[in-house]
């Protein structure tokens, strides 16, 4: 971590940012116990207040925008546990995104990452149809049995090293994507109480399209008419967290164009990571003359599914749950820290008859998925994954609920890693199943 290179490109976002955002950190240290990377290393630079001190150093001209700083900002999980811990109310997401954007502009980080970033952030996740096409390719590879054959014949050796390590952890792609499971407009059987828009996500659409179907089912039972555009763009969370704020803005505008806010009471997201970003379009587009106002309205209407269901006082299912008596719940960081939706998923699970919710120790400690962190920082990600699996083992439950596709995959792979025979569910899938069992 010691290579340093002076860079010509200035840190224009950190330099020009309203200084009070940096100054808001009064370095009391209350964030330290909750920061997974600081707890791992015990070094201040790996802590929220340490990172903010580095950013402030750059803004003050005391520090160059170095590769070491770049490494540090990508070592941060972006889990936002520090935001929950911070009594002073520091806007860490704003600082974090600005720092990463400056790092990308200055191009201080070297290696193969340039190609992969181009491929993933700038290409695939900008084009929803291309993403689905790739999804189909992966599905063919997995369901034809070619994946097992390739592994047996050691053909995966042809893959770059990092991809090779990841190949077995690739999500199982579903046979049908959300647009094949959900009609553009679906109306409840009984009284229509609300009209809502439904976001199907990217990974959720490929790997967990069933969760999207379940979400719509739960909404229908509770009197919501649901509008689901068949082709949807990435929300831009991946881009904003990886220093591509302009692309994130462009995706946000496309999202705003896809929904008529005047017609809808709420926009529903069921993925913690997406939701946390989706609710901040107002900040992202605050200087956009055309979209600024609509973005603010969007923020007001954008709801996490659990949050929305509790808000409209969802109906408790009457059927009992025969086969999954005990379950524990893992908080997606961006759901609990990013959106402060902590109580609602638990409330939802408790209302399902026959389901016994067991408290998970360190429930809101990051599982290591953290967007694409498990790809960029596999070592630290696995440490966190193991810690999470140990905590799950302590509950005695083999069923875990979580509400973010990244966490979902990380926990499924965690069960594979430990050899436990466990299952992972989205809370809303359990609710939808309970409703279905009523019939």
């Amino acid at each position: 971590m010691s290579s340093r290179s002076p860079v010509p490109s200035p840190a224009r976002r950190l330099d020009s940012m309203d200084y009070s955002v940096l100054q808001q950190c009064m370095h009391c240290g209350m964030c330290l116990p909750d920061c997974p990377t600081y707890q791992e290393t015990g070094k201040e630079r790996n802590s929220p207040r340490g990172r903010i001190a580095l950013m402030r150093g750059i803004a003050d001209g005391d520090l160059d925008l170095t590769s070491s700083f770049g490494d540090e900002m990508y070592y941060c999980l972006g889990c936002l546990a520090c935001v929950t811990a911070c009594p002073a109310g520091v806007d860490y997401p704003k600082l974090f995104e600005a720092a990463r954007a400056d790092i990308e502009d200055a191009q201080v980080l070297k290696g193969q990452r340039k190609f992969w970033r181009w491929l993933a952030v700038k290409t695939i996740f900008m084009r929803p149809r291309l993403l689905r096409m790739i999804g189909r390719g992966i599905r063919f590879y997995q369901w034809s049995g070619f994946d097992r054959l390739a592994r047996r014949l050691k053909l995966t050796i042809l893959l770059p090293k990092r991809l090779r390590a990841l190949e077995p952890t690739t999500p199982r792609v579903r046979s049908k994507f959300s647009n094949q499971l959900i009609d553009a407009w679906e109306r409840p059987q009984g009284e229509m109480r609300f009209k809502v828009g439904m976001l199907t996500g990217c990974v959720q659409d490929l790997a967990f399209s069933n969760v999207n179907r379940d979400t719509v089912d739960a909404l229908l039972v509770n009197g919501c008419a649901v509008y689901t555009p068949p082709v949807q763009n990435c929300c831009g969370s991946l881009h904003a967290h990886n220093g591509e704020l302009d692309l994130a803005r462009s995706l946000a505008r496309r999202q705003l164009d896809a929904f008529d806010l005047n017609q809808l009471d709420a926009i529903i997201s069921n993925a913690g990571g997406c939701g946390s970003h989706l609710k901040h379009y107002g900040d992202l587009l605050e200087n956009d003359p055309v979209y600024a106002e609509r973005a603010k309205e969007w923020d007001r209407k954008c709801k996490d599914i659990h949050e929305w269901l509790v808000e409209i006082d969802f109906r408790a299912p009457t059927s009992s749950f025969p086969d999954k008596e005990s379950i524990t719940y893992h908080d997606s960081c961006h759901l609990c820290h990013g959106q402060k939706v902590f109580r609602q998923p638990r409330e939802l699970l408790r209302k399902i008859p026959g389901l016994n919710l067991v408290d998970l120790p360190e429930a809101s400690w990051c599982c290591g998925s953290a967007g694409i962190y498990n790809i960029t920082q596999p070592e630290q990600a696995e440490k966190l994954q193991r810690r999470k699996m140990e905590n799950i083992a302590r509950t005695g439950c083999t069923n875990v609920a979580t509400a973010n596709p990244g966490c979902h995959l990380q926990l499924e792979n965690g069960f594979k890693l430990t050899g436990e025979n466990g299952s992972v569910y989205h809370p809303v899938s359990l609710l939808a199943e309970a409703y279905r069992n009523e019939k």
Binding site: C28, M30, G42
Partner: protein
């Protein structure tokens, strides 16, 4: 020299890159920072002693540090120094349930001590607001207080022994598990509250107490700022010693509630958080009397916390007060004055008068049962003119504090922040005596130079 330090403690534990050391340039104190030359993270007392010897050879100063949560700049580096960060000394070495003691390395997090003791039915009473991150070594070096100081006292009252590395690199042990010990001077007491200027504390032997049978938490709201102070004085006068009597003014209440959302009454002018613990019958009796006294002194509402969780949430919320105040202004200049409890109401009023006169924004909270107040000026370090007025306000408040027989710091220490004012409190030969102690223990001025006073 860096190579030799690396050989001694491992190259990974010697930090010199700017990105590594810049975040050690400050502690929890506003507006103070200084880059050190290196940060060292030793893993044993012997390594600490080795570092002290190398520092002597190199003629470099050493500044001790735990988690860096200090509020008087005590662990802010001096120019060119090595920061000696003791966080890797993080083992609880022994819990002795026969003698009711616990032996811990200096870098153990204070809260972890009580977590370890939960299953034993014992506890370590001092609970500074930073307990979830501060280290026990840092607590001892600053003689930290906390929310329970009124009944249980402060860190000093629980330190039975310690291992210290002296300025010459010698490792010594002071104290023992005996309840009584009058052999020689009580040298351990010199190191408690010495702010790292006399030696490096590496291990501490702590006294433990049995967990009380019951406890009860009450809150009271007042429509006058002095209501809380008068109630506290009356409770003490009624010969009740509860474990906690915490005061928050309206500004502090609003900031804390904004963060913690525990249902604090944000329209009250002042607020008291009271807790009594002990045998169940006594707790009942005391809680009843405290409620009556608060009502006699004009409390608008007195509430009893429903269960332990509600009580814990209230105490946790109170612990965020100082940090939460940054919601109003980014620079929070925190005071730590302590006055005889009979002077409380007048002092609270005086702080407000000074702030009004100098056109400053002040919030006030504190451990009122101890007479310990934390008036906090809410300002911006970038505004030099206002910072000068803050300085002036501090001078006035310290002057009045000395006049009524108080002290300028009850639990945070002198460090750098209170250094200019210390001589005002030591007006006779005692100030010289302080310096003589330092000169005797650390003749070369190696340990945390420039803190508490200038030689």
């Amino acid at each position: 020299m860096l190579d030799r330090l690396g050989d001694l403690i491992g190259a990974d534990h010697v930090l010199t890159e700017k990105e590594d050391i810049l975040p050690y340039g400050f502690d929890g104190t506003a507006a103070l920072k200084q880059l050190p030359a290196a940060v060292l993270l030793p893993g044993s007392t012997e390594e600490v002693a080795g570092i002290v010897k190398l520092a002597k050879e190199a003629g470099v100063a050493l500044v001790g540090r735990g988690s860096g949560t200090g509020l008087a700049g005590g662990s802010v580096p001096s120019a060119g120094c090595w920061v000696l960060c003791l966080l890797r000394l993080n083992q609880i070495l022994e819990v002795d349930t026969e003698n009711l003691t616990l032996l811990a390395e200096a870098g153990v997090i204070t809260r972890d001590i009580n977590k370890r003791l939960e299953s034993e039915g014992l506890f370590y009473p001092p609970d500074p607001s930073s307990q979830k991150i501060s280290t026990i070594g840092g607590n001892v070096a600053n003689n930290s207080g906390g929310l329970r100081g009124l009944k249980y006292g402060v860190t000093r009252d629980y330190v039975m022994g310690m291992e210290v590395v002296l300025a010459n690199g010698e490792i010594i042990w002071l104290g023992n598990k005996c309840v009584k010990d009058v052999a020689g001077y009580s040298l351990k007491d010199l190191f408690i509250g010495s702010e790292g200027t006399l030696g490096i504390i590496a291990k501490v032997l702590l006294k433990l107490l049995p967990v009380p049978e019951a406890r009860r938490t009450l809150t009271a709201t007042f429509d006058r700022l002095e209501g809380a102070a008068e109630t506290v004085s009356a409770i003490i006068k009624a010969k009740i010693i509860p474990c906690t009597l915490e005061f928050l003014d309206q500004k502090t209440l609003r900031c804390v509630e904004d963060y913690a959302k525990v249902g604090l009454p944000t329209d009250a002018e002042s607020f008291l958080l009271m807790e009594t613990d002990g045998p169940a019958a006594v707790v009942d009796l005391e809680a009843g009397k405290m409620k009556a006294i608060a009502e006699e002194h004009g409390a608008l509402e007195v509430k009893v916390a429903g269960d332990a969780m509600e009580a814990d949430n209230l105490a946790s919320a109170r612990r965020t007060a100082f940090s939460a105040l940054a919601r109003i202004m980014p620079t929070t200049i925190l005071e730590d004055i302590t006055v005889p409890r009979s002077e409380l109401a007048a002092m609270v009023r005086y702080v407000q008068e000074v702030a009004d006169e100098l056109n400053l924004e002040v919030a006030n909270f504190g451990h009122m049962g101890d007479g310990n107040l934390h008036p906090t000026f809410l300002t911006n370090e970038k505004d030099e003119e206002e910072m000068e007025r803050v300085e002036k306000a501090m001078e006035l408040i310290f002057k009045r504090t000395a006049e009524v027989g108080g002290t300028l710091t009850g639990e945070h220490g002198v460090g750098l922040a209170k250094k200019p004012f210390l001589s005002g409190q030591f007006q006779d030969h005692s100030f010289e005596l302080l310096k003589q102690v330092k000169k005797t223990m650390d003749p070369e001025g190696r340990l945390n130079p420039g803190k508490i006073f200038d030689l």
